[in-house]
C-alpha cells in the first residue's frame, strides 16, 4: 500500500465519519442560536470557536461535511448512472450516428462551464442543495461517458469479447457482462476524483449562495457568511476552509493511491 493511499484513506475516513456521527450527535445543536456567545475564539467549551450567531463551529463543520458529502456523492451517482450507459452504448455502436450524437452531446455539455450551468439552473428554480446536485451531476455525465467509451473501445477488440460476439451475444449483453466489469477499476478511481471535484464545486456554489440554504450548514456558506469578520476573527476563515482543503486533499490522495493499487500497468511503470 502506498503512502498516499493511507493518508488519503485516513483523511477521507475522518470526514465521512464526522458526517455520519453528526446524524446522531454533535457537541452543540447547529440550529439553536446563542447570540450572547457569538464570535468566541476556540476554547475548551467550543473547540473551534463560535460563529456570528454563537453556533459551535466544530458542530457546524461536522454537519457541513454531511451536506458536502451528500451533494457530491449524489452528483457523482447521477454522472455515473447516465454517463456509463451512454459511454457503453457509444462504444458498442462506434462510428454510427448514435456514437456521434452522444459524443457531440458530451462536447456541448463540456462547453458550458459547470458554474454557468449552476447559475442558470438556480436562476430558474431557485437556489437549493438539490439544484446544486443537478448542476454538478450534469457536468459529471460527459466525464464518465468519455472515460467509459475510451476504455470500452479497446476492450471491444479483445479476444474474449470477439468470442462472445461469435457465440451470438448481443451488444447490450456483452457491454454488461464483459465490458462493464473491466472498467469498474477505472470508474472507482475516476469516481473518487469526481467526488473530490464535487466537494470543491459544492463549496464554490454554496459560497456564492447557490447551494444548500440556511439553516442547513455548509462549508462554502460558512465562509461566505463570516467573510467580513475574518480580519478580526481569523478562526472563522481558517476552519471551514481547512475542512474543504483536507477533504479534497484526502480524496485526491485516495484516488491516486487507488489508481496505483488497481492499475497493474501503472504500478509496474512506477517501479
Amino acid at each position: 500500500m502506498s503512502r498516499s493511499l493511507v493518508i488519503g484513506a485516513v483523511l477521507s475516513a475522518v470526514f465521512v465519519l464526522a458526517a455520519l456521527v453528526s446524524f446522531v450527535w454533535t457537541p452543540y445543536d447547529v440550529l439553536g442560536l446563542d447570540i450572547p456567545n457569538k464570535l468566541k475564539e476556540p476554547s475548551a467549551a467550543h473547540w473551534l470557536g463560535t460563529d456570528h450567531f454563537g453556533r459551535d463551529i466544530f458542530s457546524m463543520i461536522m454537519v457541513g461535511a454531511r451536506t458536502s458529502i451528500a451533494v457530491a456523492i449524489v452528483a457523482v451517482g447521477i454522472g455515473m448512472l447516465l454517463g456509463v450507459p451512454l459511454g457503453l452504448a457509444a462504444a458498442a455502436r462506434t462510428g454510427t450516428l448514435l456514437d456521434e450524437v452522444i459524443m457531440r452531446g458530451n462536447d456541448l455539455v463540456f462547453a458550458f462551464p459547470s458554474l454557468l450551468i449552476a447559475i442558470m439552473i438556480t436562476a430558474v428554480f431557485g437556489a437549493s442543495a438539490v439544484n446544486a446536485i443537478i448542476a454538478i451531476g450534469i457536468f459529471n455525465i460527459p466525464v464518465f461517458a468519455r472515460l467509459v467509451r475510451g476504455a470500452a473501445l479497446s476492450l471491444w477488440t479483445r479476444d474474449y469479447v470477439l468470442a462472445a460476439r461469435v457465440s451470438g451475444k448481443g451488444a447490450a449483453r456483452i457491454s454488461l457482462e464483459h465490458i462493464l466489469p473491466n472498467v469498474t477499476n477505472l470508474l472507482i478511481v475516476q469516481g473518487t476524483i469526481q467526488f473530490s471535484l464535487g466537494i470543491l464545486a459544492e463549496a464554490g456554489l454554496s459560497y456564492v449562495g447557490l447551494g444548500a440554504q440556511p439553516p442547513t450548514p455548509s462549508w462554502g456558506r460558512m465562509l461566505a457568511e463570516s467573510q467580513t469578520m475574518f480580519s478580526f476573527k481569523p478562526h472563522l476563515a481558517v476552519f471551514p476552509g481547512l475542512a474543504i482543503l483536507l477533504t479534497v486533499l484526502g480524496l485526491n490522495l485516495l484516488g491516486d493511491g487507488l489508481r496505483d493499487a488497481l492499475d497493474p500497468r501503472l504500478r509496474r511503470a512506477k517501479r
Binding site: L31, H52, F53, P215, Q227
Partner: protein, 491 residues
C-alpha cells in the same frame, strides 16, 4: 416604499464656512449601482443616491433633519381652500447644458411625471395634481383636485425633480440638471464621476470632483475602506466591522438614522396568518434585541409599529409585542395551532434580511413554528413576494419616509384590508393641520400595532465610514441621497 433604498444613508451638510482643503476631490462608495440615471423613471434608490441634490433639484427639498425647505422654488403661497399652490422660482437658474430653467420646464417635468404613459415609479405622488400652469417665467401655479397635506413633501422627492426638456432623449445616460455638480462620466460596473458646476445659481460646491464607486460585496467594501481605496463608504453594509473602524484613527464612523422600518412582513390573507391570534403569537415570539444584536451587531432601534422613532409623532408601542415565548405558545394553542405549523420565509439579499431571517427562524422554532427559508434576489422577491403574494413571511426594510399609508392599500403585498384604517388614511391625506395630523398618525400607529399586521423589528441604522478628514457629511438620511454640495476636506 422603494425596496432598493435600503443601501444608502448619509447626506451632507449644506453650509460650512471657509474650506481651503488640501484635497478637492473625493471618492464615495456605495453598495448599489444605478441601473440608469433618470430619477424620474425608476424606483432604484441608487439613482437618487448619486444624483439627488447634486445634479438634480426639485421645487422643494429635504433638509438634513427631514424637514422640507425651498429648492428651485424660493417661496410659495397656498390658497385658503388648500387647492392652489403658487411657487416663485429662483432667478438665474440654468441647466448644465446652458439653457435657462423657467416655469415651462417645471410644467414639463411635472406633466411628464404624471402623464398617462409616464414611467415614473412614484406616480401616486402626483395623483392629486389637476393642473400645472406656467404663469410667467418665474411663477408656477399648481391646482389640486382635492386638498393634499403632503404636496410640498411629495415635491421634494427625487422622483419629482426638474429636468430639461431638451435632454430627455438621453437622460438615462447623460443627465442634465440644475445642481451644483454636473454629470461627467460613467464606467458601468465601477463608478460615476460628477464635476463641479461653475455656473451654479446657489452656493457653489466645495469639491471639484466626486467619484461614486459601486461595491456591492460587504467583504470587498471592508477591504476597500481598509486599503483606503475610497474616502467615504455611505451605507456600509457590514455592521460587524464598525468597532474596527471606530478603533482606527484613520476613520470616522457616522451612524445616523434612516427612514427604514425593518419589518417581518406577514401575508395577512394566507392562513393561518389571517387569524389575528396567530399574528399576535408571531409578534410575541420575536426577540427584537437579539435580532438587533445578532443581525446588526447592535445598530438599530427596536420599533413597535410602522413609524420612524426619530419622528416627533412616533409612539413607542414595543411593549405591546414584548418578547414572551410562553404567551406566544398560549396564543397559538388558542388559535388551534398548539402543535405549531410550517410556513415560508422568503428573504431578499441585504444582510439584515438574511441574518435576521435565520435568527427569526430559530426564534419561531422555539414556539413550534417551522419555517422554510428561501433566499431570493430582488427581482425574484418582487415577482414572488411583492407581486405574486406567494409567501408566508418575509423581511424587508421599508425605507421611504412617512409610508404608513401603504397599510391603506388592500392590494399591497401584506394584504391588510381594514376599512377603519383606510378611513383614517383618507382623513390624513386631506388634513393640513399639524396637530390634527399628529392625532391621526397616533391612532394609525396604534391601529396597525394592535392588529399585529406585521412583525415590527427595528429602525434600520446604516453606518457611514469616512476618512477622518472628511467634513460636511450629513448624519441622518431623511431621504435616499448623498448630498455632496457641502462636503470638504479638513486641513
Amino acid at each position: 416604499m422603494t425596496f432598493m433604498k435600503f443601501a444608502t444613508a448619509s447626506a451632507l451638510a449644506m453650509m460650512v464656512a471657509g474650506a481651503a482643503a488640501a484635497k478637492s476631490d473625493i471618492t464615495l462608495a456605495m453598495q448599489l449601482e444605478p441601473p440608469h440615471l433618470d430619477p424620474t423613471s425608476a424606483a432604484a434608490g441608487a439613482i437618487d443616491s448619486v444624483l439627488y441634490s447634486n445634479v438634480f433639484e426639485g421645487l422643494t427639498r429635504f433638509a438634513s433633519d427631514g424637514s422640507i425647505i425651498p429648492g428651485l422654488a424660493q417661496s410659495w403661497e397656498i390658497s385658503d381652500d388648500g387647492l392652489t399652490y403658487t411657487f416663485k422660482l429662483a432667478e438665474g437658474v440654468s441647466f448644465h447644458d446652458g439653457t435657462s430653467m423657467d416655469a415651462e420646464d417645471v410644467k414639463f417635468s411635472l406633466d411628464r411625471a404624471r402623464a398617462e404613459d409616464s414611467a415614473n415609479a412614484q406616480k401616486a405622488l402626483f395623483g392629486s395634481i389637476a393642473e400645472v400652469e406656467a404663469v410667467d417665467a418665474s411663477t408656477v401655479k399648481i391646482t389640486l383636485s382635492a386638498p393634499n397635506g403632503s404636496l410640498l413633501f411629495n415635491l421634494a422627492w427625487g422622483d419629482a425633480v426638474i429636468v430639461a426638456p431638451e435632454s430627455i432623449e438621453n437622460i438615462k445616460q447623460a443627465p442634465v440638471g440644475t445642481g451644483a455638480f454636473k454629470f461627467a462620466n460613467w464606467v458601468q460596473g465601477d463608478n460615476i464621476t460628477l464635476e463641479r458646476n461653475p455656473d451654479y445659481w446657489g452656493t457653489p460646491a466645495k469639491l471639484d470632483k466626486v467619484t461614486f464607486k459601486f461595491i456591492s460585496d460587504p467583504t470587498a467594501a471592508f477591504a476597500a475602506v481598509m486599503a483606503e481605496d475610497v474616502d467615504v463608504f455611505a451605507g456600509y453594509p457590514a455592521p460587524e466591522n464598525v468597532p474596527q473602524f471606530e478603533a482606527d484613527a484613520r476613520f470616522q464612523v457616522i451612524v445616523g438614522n434612516t427612514e427604514g422600518e425593518t419589518i417581518l412582513s406577514t401575508n395577512n390573507k394566507m392562513p393561518p396568518f389571517d387569524n389575528v391570534k396567530v399574528r399576535a403569537a408571531l409578534a410575541h415570539a420575536i426577540d427584537r434585541q437579539a435580532i438587533v444584536d445578532g443581525a446588526m451587531f447592535g445598530l438599530g432601534t427596536p420599533i413597535g409599529t410602522h413609524f420612524a422613532p426619530h419622528h416627533p409623532d412616533y409612539v413607542d408601542l414595543t411593549a405591546e409585542s414584548a418578547y414572551d415565548p410562553e404567551k406566544a405558545k398560549a396564543l397559538l394553542a388558542e388559535a388551534g395551532f398548539g402543535d405549531g405549523f410550517t410556513t415560508t420565509l422568503k428573504l431578499p439579499p441585504p444582510s439584515y434580511a438574511r441574518r435576521g431571517g435565520e435568527i427569526i427562524a430559530a426564534q419561531l422554532r422555539e414556539v413550534g413554528i417551522q419555517t422554510e427559508i428561501t433566499n431570493l434576489e430582488w427581482a425574484q422577491w418582487l415577482e414572488e413576494v411583492f407581486k405574486g403574494k406567494d409567501y408566508g413571511l418575509t423581511i424587508v426594510s421599508h425605507t421611504e419616509p412617512m409610508d404608513i399609508g401603504i397599510y391603506a392599500r388592500p392590494d399591497y403585498y401584506f394584504q391588510y384590508d381594514d376599512a377603519e384604517f383606510q378611513a383614517m388614511n383618507t382623513a390624513l391625506e386631506a388634513e393640513a393641520d399639524v396637530a390634527k395630523r399628529s392625532a391621526l398618525l397616533d391612532k394609525m400607529q396604534r391601529k396597525i400595532a394592535g392588529d399585529y399586521v406585521n412583525g415590527y423589528l427595528f429602525q434600520l441604522a446604516i453606518p457611514t465610514i469616512a476618512k477622518a478628514g472628511v467634513r460636511g457629511l450629513w448624519e441622518n438620511a431623511p431621504t435616499q441621497a448623498n448630498d455632496m454640495t457641502g462636503v470638504y476636506w479638513a486641513e
